[in-house]
Symmetry: C2
Subunit: 405 residues, 2 copies
């Protein structure tokens, strides 16, 4: 609570709000910005001029509108020029992308991750992917920072990842933000040194990053309570509550894969028994299909393919996993009353193959209003969700204070 | 996003912030207010003078400090003068209290609720309790509004209950707040007409109101992620995430009692099978103790008493319910990574009698960091939590804009 922000603070907040608006919504006319941001025309003009001078946005006349009068100029983010690098460290693959302001994927690369290779040892591979992408970066481009989404990684409620991803324009950006909050965790440090020595690097969890991306510019845009389920080996969730990520007190929220759904059920890798993961994880699907000696993303997707081609044991496996998928979703729907549940990672294919089983479980187990209100969806951004979400983290610093460089 | 608040808006925000501070923290010296609110001494002096002139706070010299220099005046809320009425409509009882600014219970009353009596038909009883309390209200007192906590009632994310209870000072209080948001639900309307025709009345859920109270001034003060479990017949939760209530998209979040923990288990009143409520609800406890024909709060508490006195079947029942209590709490701990779980309603006694069973389940089922971080507690405000929480809703309007009357 201050006596009130200074004119300079208000100007910076407004610059951030305008840039954020076109980052999220894409090309927007000045007239629409005037109304969306509650600022007058001359202020919008001045702010746009400043952002254009910094080459963060460009302005041009719209196509012929057919209406009389001078048309309102259209402001768009400089997506080809201002970019972040995004990485995802998944169970059996490593991905990297160059993502422009506005969430545009400009380039992307992928490599296999040898089974069990620790995240730290994936760094040379990621650095190689970055180097490849860097060759095609045009002169005059601006690199703002990097984001990394890691499978199974805690969510750091007090780390920079969270602070930068909240979406709200801070009333008073904290200059010491980057260095505050205790010692940097080892993975962040190593990632920063190798991949982004000169700009911030933000590390998040794949489920969280995907949830953020779908919430900002995907299937869940405009919804406040969203559960993004992600399966990549195990099962976890990125959960959005009131438009912000649920992190819990220590960054460990979202471990829905370890909700016990079958007391005394199969042993789980966590040490407990009958966790949701033991009945809907990739291993459970493979085992139910009689392929318990296979493993990994591709093997799991082959079961769903086989089911689609009429393989009876694969079909039975998909039905069984679909039932359990609906079971756990019903519990989450009763707990959160979400607007939307998104089936991501390799749960996408299972959901698409067994949507009727999932819905049927929901109908028998979830309370009527909550089950009527929830929308079941697959990621609108597809597999890009994790990378686009990681890039959102990297853009956050720029959006909070666009001319601070 | 505005060009910036006006001086008048800033003044009103600051008045609200100061009043909220002493409402939450009690008597506070001017020096402490200066530092807590980030305002200078003369501003604090002027704001305090305005609030004192409106008789919302009073100032007096502190007791002898032993330090040199003029002691800082102490500002306190006018708890005896400025008050709300709070009501709770529970399964088998009706309660009412008069609660002063600062959360002080000034008076309280209670009556039985005949089994199954609809909330609307409880109104004459509540009106009677109010009338009794009203007799002892001193002349010059100020009634600010009423709050009602109803067992098993949805949480209205878009209703006034939520808007008023978020705790944040709105940057621009909406003058049409009271009349916006669609038609008023019937219970709110009836309650308002009978109990508070001249001032706002806010309706919430008992679990939610209790969670708010414990979060503002009870066991969970200072914690961001809190689960308040409430058992009053059935089981539900008031959940605080990032310091705000989890309502879900339609006001139905927190129905943790219908999380299925035992596939194919006992039929639940919701139509599903094996819900958490079927194994930890009051009926489950009574049934496990061989008292399945009894019902209600007192009967449930007698089982816990009997267990404490050595009754073997009561002890077995408490152990069994304690096991299942820990089971569901472990699931919630994995999902939310909460700072704290509070055992309220008649779960308080079960938890106290079976804390070791609960903790043991948590240790075997919850992920290590999350279980180490969670604090298990009973309500610091005891049974007053629901009433104090209901009063918080009623004070919210005053705290948002103290001189708007």
């Amino acid at each position: 609570m201050r006596v009130g922000p200074s004119q300079e603070e208000i100007r910076r907040q407004n610059l951030g709000a305008l840039l954020r608006y076109v980052h999220v919504h894409g090309a927007t006319s000045r007239a629409e910005l005037t109304s969306a941001l509650g600022l007058n025309r001359s202020t919008i003009g001045a702010l746009t001029a400043e952002l254009a001078a910094a080459r963060l946005v460009s302005e041009r006349a719209p196509r012929e509108t057919g209406r009389a009068g001078r048309p309102s100029l259209v402001v768009r983010p400089e997506s080809a020029r201002v970019f972040a690098y995004a990485y995802s460290i998944e169970t059996d693959r490593l991905r990297a992308a160059r993502i422009g302001l506005g969430g545009v994927v400009l380039d992307r690369r992928q490599a296999a991750r040898p089974p069990g290779l620790p995240p730290e040892e994936c760094l040379p591979v990621l650095a190689g992917l970055r180097k490849e992408m860097h060759r095609s970066v045009a002169e005059g481009s601006v690199y703002v920072g990097s984001g990394v989404a890691v499978s199974g990684r805690p969510r750091h409620p007090d780390g920079p990842g969270r602070r930068r991803a909240e979406g709200a324009v801070p009333r008073q950006p904290d200059r010491d933000d980057r260095t505050g909050g205790g010692p940097e965790p080892p993975l962040e440090k190593a990632l920063g040194e190798v991949l982004s020595p000169d700009r911030p690097i933000l590390v998040s969890n794949v489920a969280d990053a995907s949830a953020v991306a779908e919430h900002v510019r995907g299937a869940a845009a405009g919804y406040d309570t969203v559960i993004y389920l992600h399966r990549d080996g195990g099962v976890e969730a990125g959960i959005i509550v009131r438009g912000q990520r649920l992190t819990g007190c220590g960054g460990y929220a979202g471990e829905v894969g370890h909700m016990v759904v079958q007391p005394g059920g199969r042993p789980c890798r966590c040490g407990s028994y009958g966790c949701w993961e033991t009945v809907i994880g990739e291993h459970a699907l493979l085992q139910a299909a009689g392929r318990g000696d296979a493993a990994g993303r591709d093997a799991a997707l082959r079961v769903v393919d086989a089911a689609a081609r009429g393989d009876a044991s694969a079909q039975a496996a998909v039905r069984q996993v679909g039932d359990w998928l609906g079971f756990g979703v019903a519990n989450l729907v009763n707990i959160f009353n979400p607007d939307m549940v998104i089936f991501g990672g390799t749960l996408r294919e299972v959901y698409l193959a067994a949507a009727a089983r999932v819905r049927s479980r929901l109908n028998s187990m979830a309370l009527p209003t909550a089950r009527e209100q929830v929308r079941l969806r697959t990621p609108q951004l597809g597999e890009d969700a994790a990378l686009i979400g990681a890039a959102e983290l990297a853009f956050e610093h720029l959006l909070a204070d666009p001319l601070d460089r």
